[in-house]
């Protein structure tokens, strides 16, 4: 009880807020310096999205813990005695704005997603591929009308994790998850337990690159409880042109290792991709995608251009890039879903109002002091 009481005391004190602000500045400096060697995404994960991180084996509070401590500290302000008075209105509004900002940040950290939608001219797509996270998809293709997908998300793809689901009869044990790999043809025949691509290839582990999206992740797993000739060690890597097919108890499965997919409640059809180049150069001046947004059979024509994103059902689609090939043009849209998108705007306005009220209330006192 004594420990809890003293912890509460520490959490309540406004001094903590000052220390947290200083620590956040240090964190930003550490992150900025580390970004040079580690890359943006790795730094974000290690220092800013984490509960803690280690410096010379000493645990330090990560960005997430720091933010939560700050939010708790700010929230304790409302439990102060003699707070609810008219002369403290500005400060109360300011704190509400601050808390809203943290809630928005929390929503963004927990639920936001971002990725790419890649659509060829004349075709459509209804899913977003995550920039960073992978998934292992086990697809039961036995039914003539539909495929049943069982998805194991990135956090489960760790060494020694066992993946099981009621939809699949077999189980998968992750032997290794490789952040960056290269498939290399075997010089000698593989041992009998290796199946699929692993019979002829092995996944050579490479040093992960700073530019995280340049890595080619790979996964090696042991499949068991299927059939004697199917059980064994399999390997998959991102972009593998031929997926792994297996059959178990009259059921046909495809196992794919791919970027995490989020399905949209609508689909986007690319009608035409337009590109305007700077005269006499190969540099694109502007590009835009003329699309059909199809929902429940009803299509709406929309235009997504470089500075005019499409906002629909919480998603924002930006014109990000394009691919040109002999087969036609392909648009690459950046898709972002952020539940906390409006929080920074709202909380900034609230904080400005709070500061203004506080200033107006304190102004007569300040003027009187000056006169004296």
């Amino acid at each position: 009880m004594v420990i809890i009481n003293s912890a509460t005391k520490i959490l309540k004190t406004p001094k903590l807020f000052v220390f947290i602000i200083i620590w956040m500045m240090i964190l930003v400096v550490i992150g900025t310096l580390a970004q040079k060697d580690m890359g943006l995404f790795a730094v974000q994960k290690k220092y800013f999205s984490s509960w803690y991180f280690l410096i010379w084996n000493i645990p330090m509070p990560g960005g997430r813990l720091t933010m939560i401590l700050m939010l708790i500290n700010l929230s304790f302000f409302f439990f102060r005695k003699n707070l609810w008075k008219i002369n403290k209105l500005g400060i109360i509004i300011l704190h509400i704005g601050g808390i809203l900002l943290f809630i928005g940040g929390g929503l963004t950290a927990m639920f936001s997603s971002e990725g790419n939608v890649v659509i060829d001219e004349g075709s459509d797509s209804n899913y977003v591929e995550d920039y960073h996270y992978m998934e292992l998809a086990v697809i039961n293709t036995s039914d003539n009308n539909f495929d049943t997908f069982t998805i194991f998300d990135h956090p489960l793809l760790k060494r020694n994790k066992i993946l099981k689901h009621e939809n699949i009869e077999f189980e998968i044990k992750i032997i290794n998850y490789i952040e960056n790999c290269e498939p290399i043809r075997r010089n000698t025949p593989a041992e009998v337990q290796y199946r699929g691509m692993m019979k002829n290839f092995m996944l050579n582990e490479l040093i992960p690159l700073k530019e995280e999206n340049m890595n080619r992740p790979g996964i090696i797993f042991h499949l068991s409880n299927a059939r004697p000739l199917v059980d064994g060690i399999y390997g998959l890597f991102l972009g593998q042109s031929i997926p792994q097919k297996i059959s178990s108890n009259d059921q046909e499965y495809i196992i794919v290792f791919r970027k995490k997919r989020t399905y949209l409640p609508f689909s986007i059809e690319l009608i035409d991709f337009k590109k305007i180049m700077y005269p006499g150069t190969g540099i694109a001046k502007s590009y835009s995608s003329d699309i059909n947004l199809i929902e429940k059979g009803i299509s709406k024509r929309k235009l997504i251009s470089m500075n005019e994103p499409l906002r629909y059902k919480g998603y924002t689609f930006y014109q990000s890039s394009f691919i040109e090939s002999s087969n036609g043009e392909t648009t690459v849209l950046a898709a972002v879903k952020n539940y906390g998108r409006l929080f920074p705007y709202i909380s900034s306005i609230i904080m400005c109002v709070g500061l203004l009220i506080h200033l107006i209330m304190k102004l007569p006192g300040l003027l009187n002091k000056q006169k004296i």
Partner: protein, 185 residues
Amino acid sequence: MIINKLTYYCLVVTLISCTINDNTRSYQLAKTNKPKTADKKQANISKPTDLIWEKPDPWVPSEGSPMRLASFSVAYSGGLGDLSVIKLAGAGGGLESNVNRWRRQLNLEPISLVEIEKNIIKKEGFLGPYSIKQIINEKMDSAFLCAIIPTGSYTIFVKLSLRPMGIIEVKDDFIAFCSSLNIPN
């Protein structure tokens, strides 16, 4: 006072326990209108006037120029490669001139026949022995994977244009395709 304390603890516990642990998902999607396996196999065996081949599954036929016997889009993790099949009478200019022509297309200096032959990969297909050559310009981030398949009266040239990172992914399919090239009975 007790209510205040309870509120503090609830707030702390709620905030610290905020995390998502549901990492397994399951859903069903209607099958797209893919051709049946038998139809697909049939579609993969292309029969132009005087050449047949077996196309690897992931390759998609594309429109090429009139010079080309066939064109395919070859998907790999870094994008789409462009594969062309052309046929030239006789030796079609020979190994040295063709390899140096491809090198020039990649802004590389021509090299001698001896140097070319050092890095040639020899393979055996339905039409007999043939050569595979990979030409890479890292600065341009471009590469060609080429096969020269002599048949006696003419030479078949298969060229796959892609980024260097894709070579390892598509090489096996490329070799399988080149080896499958044949003249119909």
